[in-house]
Amino acid sequence: MKGFHGTKVLTRLHLKEMFLTPAFFIAAAISTVFGYLPVRGFVNSIGSQGFNPSLSPMFANITASLESLFSEVLVDTLFAQGPFLFALYCAYIPMLLYICASSIITYHFQRDVGAIELVRFGPVRSRTYLLSLFLKDLVSIIVYIAYLTITFFIISRLNNLLLGPAFIQSVCVLAVVSVLICAYARLAASATSSGIGSLSLFLIVMISFAIVHVGSYTVIHDYIRNVSTILSWIVRWFSPFYFVTSVQTGLEIQSFWMVVAGILGILVVTALVGFVAIWTERHKETRT
């Protein structure tokens, strides 16, 4: 049982494990609540002159923080078609982190109890195991995105809100960029020998990418922005956030090539990160 068949069987097994435990469902419900709160706040912020954040204390704080950090332009863009784009990020980010983190913990737990070793001496290689975990993450994310989209669609219909083309585009972009984030989770899992270490590494890498990317967008201080812009120029070729922005800008200004370049970038970096993760795993395999 090698290659494709092994991956398929193991992926199914991982998915079964995941869906049989309540953790995934609880995380999905909590993340959706995170997404629903901004929608509720947005509806309460609508007056005769349109969306007025000062009508809702929660939104007043959120928009004021975003404006001071990034500028008014970002807030205008974020809420141009309604609350769902912001709500999507609010729900998706915690869920993605949960899926990646749980996958890293599962990997280390199964390695610690000798399950991976057992499988490796049996019909499949450890890289097949790694790939199956990666696919399990992707399927879980797609399932959650589908559930979130349906939920938001029903909420939008109930409240006469519009999901908007930007939301649909973002759903697709986030689904694509999840591939790269899951690959980083796999690399983090393979790179260290302990669960906590891998989890910390994954979070540090993601937070670093986020800080460098977000820093180049901030207007607080020229120095911070300039440093971030230089750092961002260096690390952007590996950053999922850079590719997300690139694809979204391409969609906004209807630049086909920018979109294609962004998606290709994600796939190429995913392949690269995946290759490094597999190489690390094989290296460990050889040592053991």
């Binding site: 869906f19 049989l20 309540p22 995934f24 469902f25 609880i26 999905a28 419900a29 959706t32 609540v33 629903y36 509720r40 947005f42 509806v43 309460n44 609508i46 007056g47 005769s48 002159q49 349109g50 969306f51 007025n52 990034f70 500028s71 008014e72 332009v73 970002l74 205008d76 863009t77 141009a80 078609q81 309604g82 559930y147 939920t151 029903i154 909420i155 109930l158 409240n159 006469n160 809100l161 519009l162 908007g164 083309p165 180049s216 967008y217 901030t218 207007v219 020229d222 922005r225 812009t229 922005t245 200004i253």
Partner: protein
Amino acid sequence: MKRLTIILLAMLCSFSLFGEVPVRSEELLYSIAAFSGKDYALTFAKEDATTIYLYANADNFLSMKKNFIYYWPITGLWMIDDSVLDVTFDGVMQVIDSKGNVQQFEEVEYTFFNMRGTYDNNWHVKTGQEAIDEWNSYVQSYLDYQEATAAYNREYSAYQEQTTALFYEILAVREQGGDTETLLQQLSTLIPPVEPAMPNIYTVPPARIQYGYRINLGAGEYRLRFIDKDGRVMQDSEKTIVSVESRRSDSIGYEIFPADRWTMPSESFAPSSVLYVDGTSDMYVRPFYQDEFLDLQYNKMIDNQSSGNPNLYRWVRIQQVPNSSVEITTSKGVQVVNEQPFMVEQSKSTTLGYSIVPYDAQGVHAGKSPSIVALHIPLSTDDKEISLSLAGVEDSIKGSSKRIIRVITGIKGELITVLLIVIPLIVTFIVRTVRKRRLASVLVEVS
């Protein structure tokens, strides 16, 4: 000892009587009159500013100066103090493009002004003799106005004197029981002089004649330096010029005036954005042309000290669309609404305080200017969705002018939403129950 303490206390108190005097420093500055797409912004680039941002393919004016500058903590900005030191340098400005081509600019006299039109954007720039003529013509028109006002005042005084004299004469004749008919006729034939109108051809009058270097560059990055009279590059005069071009132009934005808060308009910039309103009052909209610039570049263009986002683009309102009309699509059909003047009238009885009524130039509003010229979009809470787009324009402009108005009347269907959110919990509960039962049956079979 007591005396010394008193003296020390007095000295300490005296310090608090004096405010902190800002520290001035002498700096070589580029004084900039930068075109911003809609008007001229006056700013300056300090010695430590490395880059000057200018609007591409438009006339911008730079000059090289030496002034005192000081930091003003209240606004957080550096200010120029030209009361003591105000030196303008003679020489030439050189702009070098990325290929090394050098363009040389000579100093010219210039002025800029905005002419009155139906809408707000009629900027003109004049240089050399034309600028001097324009300035002289503006000054002359004001002198003429002052002269006409003086003549009017004299004529009006004479008119008032004549009227008063006749009035007293009529009173005197009446007291004596005489016939006042002729005097009354005389009074009615007296015509008051007409007050001269203020010169109103300019909305922004020509700026006083200034000397500067007219810089008009295509989009791109250039190097700038100032060559003094001796032909040497002036120290600290080298800067980078970023000639800024819009990423997208001639898009349509809307200024939105809700009828119940017409002094608090909001703006809709993003094409295909949705306007969510509560439908409690009608809406008045004014479409405008807008161009899209990088936030940081545009902010720096109008104020070199300001900051902005270097990665985000923003829409900048350029000017109102003249004589606009919009197509409004509702569930009832399509309707074309034309731009109309409206008058805001104070209401006597309603709690609203005012009402917006169509402007009646010949009737009740004769002699007054309309409060607002806009498109009236009637709204009610029964409307669910209204879409609007500019009528009678090119397809590309029409596309960017599309907006959807959605009427939101509070949060709805919360119970269904809660059910949707708990679906994952219900699923996991079902899965666990089924598994438990299955496991129990297996255990029974085994036992």
